[in-house]
C-alpha cells in the first residue's frame, strides 16, 4: 500500500472510533452544557471490564458467547459507573448553581480519581481480546468500524427525532426550565443521556480494541483516548451529532495522514492547530449552529 492509502485506511478507521467517542462528549455537552472530561476514563472502564470478563471466560465458552457476554458486561459496568458519578458528583452541583467552571473542575476531579484507581490496579499494557477473528486486514477492520459507527449514529438520530424520550431530551437541551414546566422530568432525561453516553463509551472501548492491535494502557486515560476525540467534537461543533462524526473523521484523518507521511512527532501540533483554527474562524464548529448571546 502506498503512504496515501495507508493513511486513508487508518484515518477512516481511527476516525470512526473518534467519531463514536466524540458522540459521547457532544451528547452530554448538548444537554447539560458541561465538558465531561471524565469520558476518556469511562471508556477505560469499559475496556477494563471487557478485558477482565474475556480473561475469565476465555477457555470456558465459545468465542461468540465470550464476546457477547464481555461486551454486555462492559456496557452495564459503564452505565453503572457513569450513573453513580452523575448522581454523586454532577447532579448536586447542577442543582446548586449554574456556574460553568465548577462542573468542569468536578469532571476533571472524577477523571483523576478513575485514572488513579486504574493505575493502582494495572498500569502495564494489556493486549486486547480478539473478539472478531474474521477481521483480518486493515480494510476489513475499517469497514467494520465504519459500520458500527454509522449504526450508532443512525440509532441515536432515530432516538432523538422519533421517540418521545428523545424529543423530551431535545426540549431539555433547548430550555430546561420551559421543559420542566411542560412536565418533563429533567433529572431523568439527563441521567438517560449520561447512560446513553456510557453505552457509547463501552462501544468505543470495543472499537478501540478492534482498531488497536497493541492494546491500550490504562494509564493512557484521558490524554490519549479522551482529549483528541474531544478536540474532534469541538472541531465538528460540540452539541451536534453530525458535527461529532464530521470532526471525528477530520481529526482521525489528520492524525493518520501525519503518521503515514512520517510526521508522527508533529501529530499533536496538527490536531490542536486545527482545533485552534476552527475555533477562531467559526467558534460554533464546522456543523454547529451559532448560539445568540443572552443577557
Amino acid at each position: 500500500m502506498s503512504q496515501f492509502t495507508t493513511g486513508l485506511v487508518n484515518g477512516v478507521s481511527i476516525g470512526a472510533v473518534f467519531a463514536l467517542i466524540a458522540l459521547g462528549y457532544t451528547m452530554i455537552y448538548g444537554i447539560v452544557k458541561m465538558i465531561n472530561f471524565a469520558h476518556g476514563e469511562f471508556i477505560v472502564v469499559g475496556g477494563f471490564t471487557m478485558y477482565g470478563m474475556n480473561k475469565l471466560l476465555v477457555s470456558k465458552v465459545p468465542l461468540w458467547a465470550n464476546a457477547t457476554i464481555s461486551i454486555i458486561t462492559a456496557i452495564v459496568a459503564c452505565v453503572v459507573v457513569v450513573l453513580i458519578t452523575e448522581r454523586l458528583a454532577y447532579r448536586p452541583l447542577r442543582k446548586r448553581d449554574n456556574n460553568r467552571i465548577n462542573p468542569l473542575i468536578t469532571a476533571i476531579g472524577v477523571s483523576y480519581i478513575l485514572y488513579g484507581i486504574f493505575n493502582l490496579i494495572q498500569s502495564s499494557q494489556l493486549k486486547p481480546p480478539a473478539f472478531f477473528p474474521f477481521l483480518e486486514t486493515r480494510v476489513d477492520k475499517m469497514i467494520f468500524l465504519l459500520a458500527v459507527t454509522t449504526l450508532c449514529l443512525v440509532l441515536l438520530t432515530l432516538f432523538y427525532q422519533k421517540t418521545k424520550l428523545g424529543i423530551a431530551t431535545r426540549a431539555v437541551s433547548e430550555n430546561a426550565d420551559a421543559a420542566k414546566l411542560m412536565g418533563i422530568n429533567n433529572d431523568f432525561t439527563i441521567a438517560l443521556t449520561f447512560a446513553l453516553a456510557a453505552i457509547m463509551a463501552a462501544i468505543s472501548a470495543l472499537l478501540f480494541y478492534t482498531y488497536n492491535d497493541t492494546g491500550m494502557k490504562f494509564s493512557d486515560g484521558t490524554l490519549l483516548i479522551g482529549l483528541i476525540p474531544f478536540a474532534a467534537a469541538v472541531v465538528g461543533g460540540i452539541g451536534s451529532l453530525p458535527g461529532a462524526v464530521v470532526g471525528g473523521f477530520i481529526i482521525g484523518m489528520v492524525q493518520e495522514m501525519a503518521a503515514a507521511f512520517g510526521l508522527s512527532k508533529w501529530q499533536v501540533l496538527f490536531i490542536y492547530g486545527i482545533l485552534v483554527l476552527v475555533l477562531l474562524l467559526k467558534p460554533s464548529g464546522i456543523v454547529g449552529r451559532k448560539e445568540g448571546e443572552k443577557v
Binding site: G109, Y112, L269, L280
Partner: protein, 375 residues
C-alpha cells in the same frame, strides 16, 4: 436542662493604624526568622521544597489572576510556564555560558552561577539568574499578549478553556520537536538549592505587584468583568482590552515562574502538559478562586503533602498523587466550593476578625462543656 447556646457572629473588627503597623512588623520579623532558619538548616530537602513552593506559588498566583479575578478558565497555563523555562534555558545555555566560557572553565561557571560547592551565591550569579528570569517573563508576556489578542475577542467560557488547552499542548509539542534532546545539556549538578531567599524574594515581589495591580483601576475593571461582563461594558470598561491586559500580566508571571524553574533543576517538556496546568488549577481552586491569600495558603499545603506525606505512603500511592488530587477537587467543589478563602484577601481587619471568631468558637465549646457538667 440544656441551655441552647445562641450562635453569635463575631462582629467585623476594624483595627487601628498603630496595631496594623505593629502586626506588620511582627509578621515581617517572623517571616525573616523562618527564612533564615530554612536557609541555615542542614537538611537538603527543606530548601528544595521551599524553593518549589515559591516557584509554584508564583505560577499559581498568575493563573489566579485570569481564573479567579477575570473569571475565565484557562487549562493551558503550563504552556506559558514552559515558554519561560525554555527562554531561560536557551539564554543560559547559548548566551551566558558561551560568553563566560572565553574567560573561565565550565566548572568554574557553574560555581559562579549556581555555586555548587558553597552555600553563598555570588553577586554575579544573582544578577544572571534575576536578569534571566525577567527576560523570560517579558518574552512570555509577549506570547501571552499574542494569544490573548487572537483568542479573547472571539471566545469565552468553555471554548476559551479548550482553546487554551490546545495552545498549551501545541507549545509542548513545538518545544519537544524543536529542542529534540530536551534540556539535558543543562547540567544536572546545576540544581539551585542553597538559596531560598532568592526565590522567596521573587515570590514576595510577585505578591506585591499583583496586589497593586488588582487594587488599581485596571484590577477593579477586571473584577467588574468577572461579575458581569455586559454591565461592565455598558459602564465604560473596555472589556476586551482589559481581558488582554490580564492575560498578558498573567503570562508575564507564569514566564517568571518558568524562568526560575529552569534554575531549580532540569525538567522535560512533557512535564508542562495539561497535568501541570490542572495542578495549578487545583492550587487556586483549593485556595479560593480570586483570592491571592488562598493560593498562598493552598500551594504550600499541597506541596508539603506531595513531598512529605505522600512519600511515606506505599509506592503505588505516592506515584499516583492524582487520585488524591481528584478526591480533593471533588470535595472542594461539593462541600466548600469557594475554597479556603473564598474571594477574601488577607488584611489585618480580616485577621483580627478571624482571631475573634476562633476565640468565640472556643468559648462556645468551653461553655457547652460547662453546661453539660452542670446538668
Amino acid at each position: 436542662m440544656k441551655n441552647k447556646i445562641k450562635k453569635t457572629q463575631a462582629p467585623k473588627k476594624h483595627v487601628s493604624k498603630k496595631t496594623q503597623l505593629i502586626s506588620t512588623i511582627v509578621a515581617i520579623v517572623l517571616f525573616a526568622v523562618v527564612s533564615v532558619l530554612i536557609d541555615g538548616s542542614s537538611s537538603l530537602m527543606l530548601p528544595k521544597v521551599f524553593n518549589k513552593i515559591c516557584i509554584f506559588s508564583i505560577a499559581a498566583l498568575s493563573l489566579n489572576l485570569v481564573c479567579g479575578n477575570l473569571g475565565e478558565l484557562v487549562l493551558g497555563h503550563g504552556g506559558f510556564v514552559l515558554i519561560g523555562y525554555v527562554v531561560s534555558y536557551l539564554l543560559t545555555n547559548y548566551v551566558i555560558f558561551p560568553a563566560l566560557q572565553d574567560s573561565m572553565a565550565m566548572s568554574e561557571i557553574y560555581n559562579v552561577i549556581y555555586n555548587v560547592h558553597g552555600s553563598e551565591l555570588h553577586a554575579a550569579g544573582y544578577a544572571i539568574i534575576i536578569g534571566n528570569a525577567i527576560i523570560a517573563a517579558l518574552i512570555t508576556a509577549v506570547f501571552g499578549y499574542i494569544v490573548g489578542v487572537i483568542v479573547l475577542g472571539r471566545l469565552k467560557g468553555d471554548y476559551l478553556a479548550i482553546v487554551t488547552l490546545g495552545f498549551g499542548l501545541v507549545f509542548v509539542c513545538l518545544v519537544q520537536n524543536l529542542i529534540p534532546n530536551g534540556f539535558t545539556s543543562l547540567n544536572s549538578s546545576s540544581k539551585l538549592t542553597g538559596t531560598p531567599m532568592l526565590f522567596a524574594g521573587f515570590l514576595v515581589l510577585t505578591v506585591f505587584l499583583l496586589t497593586m495591580f488588582i487594587k488599581s483601576r485596571f484590577g477593579r475593571g477586571i473584577i467588574a468583568i468577572r461579575e458581569d461582563a455586559i454591565a461592565a461594558e455598558s459602564s465604560g470598561i473596555p472589556v476586551n482590552k482589559y481581558k488582554i491586559l490580564a492575560f498578558t500580566v498573567s503570562a508575564f508571571f507564569a514566564g517568571l515562574a518558568g524562568g526560575l524553574y529552569c534554575h531549580f533543576g532540569p525538567q522535560t517538556a512533557v512535564q508542562f502538559n495539561q497535568d501541570l496546568s490542572i495542578l495549578l488549577l487545583l492550587y487556586i481552586v483549593l485556595g479560593g478562586l480570586g483570592s491571592f491569600t488562598g493560593t498562598l495558603i493552598a500551594t504550600p499545603l499541597l506541596e508539603i503533602l506531595n513531598s512529605y506525606v505522600l512519600v511515606v505512603l506505599p509506592a503505588s500511592f505516592s506515584n499516583n498523587p492524582k487520585i488524591i488530587y481528584g478526591i480533593l477537587l471533588i470535595c472542594i467543589m461539593l462541600f466548600k466550593n469557594k475554597g479556603i478563602m473564598g474571594t477574601n484577601e488577607f488584611g489585618w481587619d480580616w485577621f483580627y476578625t478571624l482571631l475573634d471568631k476562633i476565640k468565640l468558637f472556643f468559648k462556645r465549646v468551653f461553655k457547652k462543656r460547662k453546661s453539660e457538667v452542670a446538668s
